[in-house]
C-alpha cells in the first residue's frame, strides 16, 4: 500500500504528465522545445523532461528532441527517462544517425564510454557533418584509452582518430572551440591524456550548457506564443539588429543564421498584427469605414492560412 507521500508524488506526476500532453497538443514542435528550455531555466527540469517525453510520443521521428532530452535529463539527474525513450526510438529507427548520436551522448554522460563510442562512431559514419558528435566521439575514445594506463597512445591509430575528430568538430561547429578546448588539444599532443580529457570535457560542458540555455531567441518566441500580451517588439527589433551586425562581421554561426531567419518571420507576424490593430482602431473611430472593413476581411483570411505555416518553423 502506498504512503500518503507516495500518493502525493504520484498525483503530482500524473497532473504534470496531463499538463505536458495538453501543451504538446496545443503548441508546435519548436515552441515545445523552447518551453522545455523555459522550464529548465525556471529550475523545474523535471517538467521539461515530462514535456519532452510527451512530445516524443507525438513526434517520435524528431531526433532533435532526443538530444535535448539527453542534455536536460542529465542536468536534472534523471537519465533513465531519456534512455528509455532513446532505446524505444532505436528499435524503430536503428539507422537514424541522430538517434544513434543522442544515445551515444547519453551513454557518454553516464560514463558508459564503450557503448558511447560504438554508437557515436556509427552516428558519425551515417552523418559525418555533425560537429558535436565528433567531439563526443573523440572524448569517448580518449576516456577509454586513458583508462588503459601504461600504454603510449601516440603511436596508435586511436589517437590520430581522436585528433581528427577534434579537428572536424572544430571545423563543423566553431562554437565548440573555447580556451579549454584549445588547451585540451595542446595537452593531447603532449600525451597528457588525463588532463587533456578534463579540459576537453570542460569545453563540452560549456557547449551543453549553451545548448540548453533559454536565450533571448527562445524568450522572444516563448513570449509571442505563451504571453502575447507581454511581447516586446522593441526587444525583437534590437535582437534582429544584433544578429544582423554579427552576420555582417561574419561572426554568426549556422544556428544564428537560422535564428535570424526565424526572427524575421516573427517580425513579419508582428507587422500583420500591427496592421490588424490599426484597422481595429480605424473601425472604432469610424465603424462604417468600408475600406478598413474590406482590408480587415482580407487580413483575417490571410491569417487563417498563415498561422499553420508559421507553426511549422524549425528552430
Amino acid at each position: 500500500m502506498q504512503t500518503e507521500e507516495q500518493l502525493k508524488v504520484e498525483k503530482k506526476f500524473n497532473q504534470e504528465t496531463k499538463d505536458s500532453r495538453l501543451l504538446v497538443e496545443k503548441y508546435p514542435l519548436s515552441i515545445i522545445s523552447s518551453l522545455a528550455l523555459y522550464f529548465n531555466s525556471k529550475g523545474t527540469p523535471e517538467k521539461a523532461i515530462n514535456l519532452l517525453v510527451s512530445a516524443l510520443e507525438k513526434w517520435p521521428e524528431e531526433p532533435e528532441l532526443y538530444d535535448q532530452l539527453v542534455f536536460l535529463a542529465n542536468k536534472a539527474g534523471k537519465p533513465k527517462e531519456a534512455e528509455e525513450k532513446l532505446l524505444e526510438a532505436q528499435t524503430f529507427y536503428p539507422e537514424n544517425p541522430l538517434v544513434c548520436g543522442s544515445l551515444g551522448k547519453h551513454y557518454f554522460l553516464e560514463k558508459n564510454f564503450t557503448s558511447a563510442k560504438n554508437l557515436l562512431e556509427k552516428s558519425v559514419m551515417l552523418n559525418p557533418e555533425d560537429g558535436a558528435n565528433h567531439l563526443f566521439s573523440a572524448l569517448s575514445s580518449l576516456a577509454i584509452q586513458r583508462e588503459d594506463k601504461g600504454i603510449n597512445l601516440s603511436e596508435l591509430p586511436e589517437l590520430q582518430q581522436i585528433e581528427k575528430d577534434l579537428q572536424r568538430s572544430k571545423e563543423l561547429n566553431p562554437e565548440i572551440v573555447t580556451d579549454d578546448f584549445l588547451k585540451g588539444k595542446e595537452l593531447l599532443t603532449q600525451n597528457n591524456y588525463s588532463e587533456a580529457f578534463k579540459y576537453l570535457e570542460k569545453s563540452l560542458n560549456s557547449y551543453l550548457n549553451k545548448k540548453i540555455e533559454f536565450t533571448m531567441f527562445y524568450q522572444l518566441f516563448f513570449s509571442f506564443y505563451m504571453e502575447p500580451e507581454k511581447f516586446d517588439l522593441e526587444k525583437l527589433k534590437k535582437f534582429i539588429q544584433e544578429l544582423e551586425k554579427k552576420l555582417s562581421l561574419s561572426l554568426s554561426s549556422e544556428k544564428e543564421l537560422n535564428h535570424l531567419g526565424c526572427c524575421y518571420i516573427l517580425f513579419f507576424i508582428n507587422l500583420i498584427k500591427s496592421s490588424e490593430e490599426q484597422l481595429e482602431k480605424a473601425l472604432i473611430l469610424d465603424p462604417e469605414f468600408e475600406g478598413a472593413r474590406k482590408t480587415m476581411g482580407f487580413l483575417e483570411k490571410m491569417k487563417t492560412e498563415m498561422l499553420p505555416l508559421i507553426d511549422s518553423l524549425r528552430f
Partner: protein, 384 residues
C-alpha cells in the same frame, strides 16, 4: 555657424510643356528644412520639416553638421523622386488605371497644389467611374482653388446628389457659397454638415466666419446676436479641435467686439491649418497607388520612411481612421521585404549541408508565406 556652408538644392524637370522645380534649403531661424515646389517658376507648394533635437546654428560638431547636410539632401531627393514618380504613375494610369486610381493620383497632385494636374486626373476618373461622388467633391475643391466658383458649386452639388449624407460635401459647398458671399446659403449647408458630423470643427469655424461677414455686410458689426452666434461657433471649433492653446482660451473668454472675433477667427484658422491632415492624407493616397501599380519599384527604405511619418502624425494627434487604414496597408506591404530577408537567411542556411533539413523546412515556410502575401495583395488590389 559662420564657417558652415549648407547647400541649397535645386532640381528641374520638364513634363508635357511645363517646367517644375524642387528647391530645398535650411532655414536657420526656424531650424527647419524648407522644400518648395515650383511650376513654371511660380511657387505652388512648400513644406517645412523640423530638424529634431539639433540647433544647427549652435552646433560645432562637424559630424553632426554633415549629418544634417545629408538629411537636407535626403528630403530634397525624396521630393524630387516623388514628383517624377507622380508623372510616371500618371502615364501608367492612362494605360490601365481605374477611376479610383485616377482619383487617388488627383488627390496627391491636389496635396501638392498642382491643380491642373489634379483636375486632369479627376476628369479621367469621371470618364471611368462617372458616379463616384468623391471625385466631384475634389474636382469642386480644385475649381474653388482656381477661383471658378460656379463650376465648383456645380460639382459639390453633383457629389451631394449621389451621396447626400456626406458632411464634407455640405461643408465644401458651404465654403463655395461663402466665397461667393452667399452667406445664408453657406450657413444652411454648414448646418447640414453638422447634422452628419456634430464635431466638425472647420464647419464651426466657417459658420462663425460667415456670421462675422454677414454682420460686416449688414453694417451692423455691433449686433450682439450676430457676435454671440459667431463666438459660440468659434468656441465649438476650438472645443472640437485637438490643438489646445492657453492664449486662445483667454481670448474666447474676453471677446466682445467684432475685431476681437476677427482676431480669434484668424488664430483659430491657423491652429486648424497647422493640424491639417491634407498633406499626410495625400501621401497615403500616393503610397496606396504605388503599392498597387508600382509594387516592384517601391523600395524598402521608402516604405520605412512612410511608416515612420504616418506613425508620427498619428502620435502627434492626427488620429483619423484613414491614416490608420493607410498605416495598416503599409505594414502589410512592408512585411514583403521582411519575408524576403527571411528567405535569404534560410537559403544561406541550406547551403550549409549540416542544417540542410532545417533550412529547407524554413525556406518553404518563408516562400509559402511570401506567395500568400503576394496573392493576397493582388486579390486585394483587384477588389479595391
Amino acid at each position: 555657424m559662420d564657417d558652415v556652408r549648407l547647400p541649397k538644392h535645386k532640381e528641374k524637370i520638364g513634363y508635357r510643356g511645363n517646367s517644375y522645380a524642387v528647391e530645398t534649403e535650411y532655414d536657420s531661424l526656424l531650424n527647419r528644412v524648407s522644400v518648395r515646389l515650383f511650376k513654371n517658376r511660380r511657387l505652388v507648394c512648400s513644406r517645412s520639416i523640423r530638424i529634431k533635437d539639433v540647433q544647427l546654428e549652435k552646433s560645432t560638431d562637424r559630424k553632426e553638421i554633415e549629418k544634417i547636410k545629408e538629411k537636407i539632401a535626403y528630403y530634397h531627393r525624396e521630393e524630387y523622386a516623388l514628383l517624377i514618380s507622380l508623372f510616371e504613375l500618371s502615364q501608367k494610369l492612362k494605360l490601365n488605371g481605374d477611376g479610383p486610381a485616377h482619383h487617388s493620383l488627383g488627390l496627391v497632385f491636389l496635396g501638392r497644389e498642382l491643380l491642373e494636374e489634379a483636375k486632369e486626373e479627376f476628369l479621367l476618373a469621371l470618364i471611368k467611374t462617372p458616379t463616384y461622388s468623391p471625385v466631384y467633391n475634389h474636382l469642386g475643391i480644385v475649381y474653388l482653388k482656381l477661383g471658378m466658383i460656379e463650376e465648383s458649386i456645380k460639382n459639390f452639388q453633383t457629389a451631394l446628389k449621389i451621396s447626400p449624407d456626406f458632411a464634407d460635401y455640405h461643408h465644401n459647398l458651404g465654403t463655395a457659397f461663402l466665397e461667393k458671399k452667399s452667406y445664408l446659403e453657406a450657413e444652411k449647408e454648414f448646418q447640414e454638415a453638422l447634422k452628419f458630423n456634430p464635431r466638425y470643427q472647420e464647419v464651426y469655424l466657417n459658420l462663425g466666419f460667415s456670421c462675422l461677414e454677414r454682420g460686416g455686410i449688414e453694417g451692423d458689426i455691433s449686433n450682439e446676436t450676430i457676435l454671440k452666434e459667431a463666438l459660440d461657433n468659434f468656441k465649438k471649433a476650438y472645443q472640437f479641435g485637438y490643438k489646445k492653446d492657453l492664449r486662445m482660451e483667454e481670448l474666447l473668454q474676453k471677446a466682445f467686439t467684432w475685431e476681437d472675433l476677427s482676431r480669434i477667427y484668424m488664430l483659430l484658422k491657423s491652429l486648424l491649418t497647422e493640424g491639417s491632415s491634407w498633406e499626410i492624407k495625400s501621401l497615403c493616397d500616393y503610397f496606396r497607388l504605388r503599392f498597387k501599380y508600382d509594387p516592384k519599384v517601391v523600395e524598402k527604405k521608402e516604405v520605412e520612411d512612410y511608416l515612420l511619418q504616418l506613425s508620427q502624425e498619428i502620435v502627434e494627434g492626427k488620429n483619423y481612421p484613414d491614416l490608420r487604414h493607410g498605416l495598416a496597408l503599409a505594414y502589410i506591404f512592408y512585411s514583403r521585404y521582411i519575408l524576403k530577408l527571411a528567405e535569404k537567411q534560410f537559403q544561406n542556411l541550406m547551403q550549409l549541408s549540416r542544417e540542410k533539413d532545417r533550412g529547407v523546412t524554413n525556406l518553404t515556410v518563408s516562400q509559402e508565406l511570401g506567395r500568400k502575401v503576394e496573392a493576397w495583395l493582388e486579390e486585394f488590389h483587384m477588389e479595391t
